[in-house]
């Protein structure tokens, strides 16, 4: 199993990825310590529409933290596909299955790899968040940072949920068919969104204010906590179910590589 996981790690150029993330994290920590947002630096202070003084350094580091979470989720999803499609591309599956690995080991390794990667990405995000917040002044950025963090666990869970839907498709149908289904679903959502823009009630978005959202989150602390507690439990259950389904169908599949 460890061998299969290491193979995927190498196939995803994992060492390079780890090196880049480590360097970025060190740079982020050092720069944050050098430029704390709780000191009012000349040229970095602006006033927003509400008349509140905002430190641009804080905003810069908050955006860094936010992108870490955003791109992290993107990588979790794309790596979930890539570790399967790369095996097709380099036609290694038949070779792997001729070794002392069962199909169960093979499918399990894919799911474990993605779950481990999601855990690692989320941990790095938390480090960035802690570093960013430690030197942040009391301003809108701080409230917004807490607001985003409140949704970070559900967001990672949602990413894993989507990945858990996609992985069986890529494993069973291969890249061509799975991509076709995926693009069809995305296009259907896109068309529905465009339809809403034309015919739906847009007043909801006109009244949308980030402050209102933050206030809403503060007022619904219990519901949000419940969401943070229940979403991982639900995701773990669904992820396991996805693994069982993928395994059931994959065991019946006879052609391992797509020639």
């Amino acid at each position: 199993m460890a061998g299969l996981l290491y193979k995927d790690f190498v196939a995803m150029r994992g060492k390079r990825f780890v090196l880049v993330i480590t360097i970025l994290t060190f740079v982020y920590i050092i720069f944050r310590m050098l430029f704390p947002g709780n000191s009012e630096l000349e040229g970095f202070m602006i006033r927003n529409e509400d008349g509140e003084t905002v430190n641009l350094i804080d905003s810069f580091f908050f955006i860094g933290e936010f992108y870490m979470l955003w791109f992290g989720c993107y990588f979790i999803n794309t790596w979930g596909q890539k570790i399967i499609t790369t095996d097709n591309k380099i036609k290694i599956r038949s070779y792997l299955l001729s070794m002392p690995f069962s199909k169960k080991n093979y499918v399990a390794s894919k799911y474990i790899f993605v779950a481990t990667f999601a855990y690692a990405i989320f941990s790095i995000y938390v480090i960035w968040h802690v570093v960013s917040l430690a030197f942040m002044g009391d301003s809108f950025n701080k409230d917004f940072s807490y607001f985003v963090t409140g949704f970070s666990i559900p967001l990672v869970c949602l990413t894993l949920f989507v990945t858990a839907i996609e992985m069986p498709m890529f494993l069973i149908w291969g890249k061509g068919k799975a991509m076709m289904v995926k693009v069809t679903i995305i296009m259907a959502i896109g068309i529905a969104a465009i339809g809403y823009v034309f015919f739906g009630n847009l007043n909801v978005f006109e009244q949308l204010d980030i402050w209102l959202l933050i206030k809403w989150a503060e007022a619904h602390e219990i519901e949000l906590t419940l969401l943070s507690v229940l979403s991982p439990m639900f995701t773990i259950l669904f992820y396991y179910l996805s693994y069982r389904i993928a395994l059931k169908f994959y065991e019946k599949k006879e052609e391992y590589d797509e020639y």
Binding site: A2, V131, A134, E221, L226, P232
Partner: protein, 288 residues
């Protein structure tokens, strides 16, 4: 000639202590105690928990020990549920809740004056949230367990197996616990865990931390050895740090005087952990 394991252990301890103490020198604002720091700054300083694992990796690099994931002499990063090993994960998740509630119950028995029906309000916790607190602590502790993994990856993943090789189990647990407790000394000196206002500050605090680490180390080492992985210990440590307890919201430690630097709620927790540690030692003895 010095035993190779002893050499490696010394390198590990030097790196672990050196890097962590350096981190605290850099990050702890001068003259500030733990309580004077903002919550955000406390979390930042607590990132020092990652250094035992970093020291583990560096030691393996320096000593060319290799980076095997599973098996003897490995980093113990693998996870196996075979042969009922999943039980250790369940223990890791639930045991801190059990001994914390048990400890709080003992504290209330020792000192009923500490009971405060509305203390949770000072902790800024809603009454409904209080009931969710243990589950939330368990889930969030498990998900955000990387910091505890930083410690356990070093102490349980490297130091304890080496100590067990060099000496008897009981001695290893004692020495390991003391080292782990002393490693916390910089934080104890700025008032983490026990505050700064007690007789014998900070030395008595360091001694108390060592006692706590020795006892906690017993079952953390046990589940690591039996599961062959540091993950159950990391999860247990993380859940322990998240303090999963409902009774905590009803115990006001400010209502009683602290004698010899030991408050009743700390005494309760210590007794509770002592009982659990003894049970684990007996089981360990029987199963070996």
């Amino acid at each position: 000639m010095m035993n190779i394991d002893k050499k490696r252990l010394i390198i590990y301890i030097a790196l672990s202590f050196g890097l962590t103490f350096l981190w605290y020198i850099i990050t702890v604002p001068k003259g500030q105690s733990w309580d004077e720091m903002s919550n955000e700054m406390q979390s930042f300083v607590a990132l020092g928990m990652l250094f035992p694992m970093i020291a583990h990796v560096l030691t393996r690099l320096i000593t060319k020990e290799g980076f095997a994931m599973t098996g003897e002499g490995s980093m113990m990063l693998g996870i196996s549920f075979k042969n009922c090993k999943w039980v250790y994960f369940v223990i890791a998740i639930l045991l801190p809740w059990v001994y914390m509630e048990f400890g709080n119950l003992i504290s209330l028995l020792i000192c009923p004056d500490m009971y405060d029906a509305e203390y949770y309000k000072t902790l800024e916790i809603d009454k409904n949230m209080l009931l969710l607190l243990p589950i939330n602590a368990i889930i969030s502790g498990t998900i955000i367990s990387f910091a505890a993994f930083g410690e356990e990856g070093g102490w349980r993943g490297y130091m304890m197996p080496k100590l067990m090789k060099l000496t008897s189990r009981h001695k290893a647990l004692l020495i390991g616990g003391i080292l782990w407790g002393v490693w916390h000394a910089p934080l104890t000196c700025i008032g983490h865990n026990f505050g700064t206002d007690y007789v014998g500050f900070p030395y008595l605090g360091i001694v108390k931390m060592c006692a706590f680490c020795i006892l906690l180390g017993v079952f953390l080492t046990y589940i690591t050895e039996k599961s062959g992985s540091v993950w159950p210990a990391a999860i247990m440590h993380a859940v322990n740090n998240a303090q999963p307890s409902i009774l905590r919201g009803y115990i006001n430690p400010d209502k009683v005087d602290v004698a010899l630097g030991i408050s009743p709620n700390w005494a309760g927790l210590l007794i509770s952990i002592f009982v659990v540690a003894v049970i684990f030692l007996v089981i360990w003895r029987k199963r070996t």
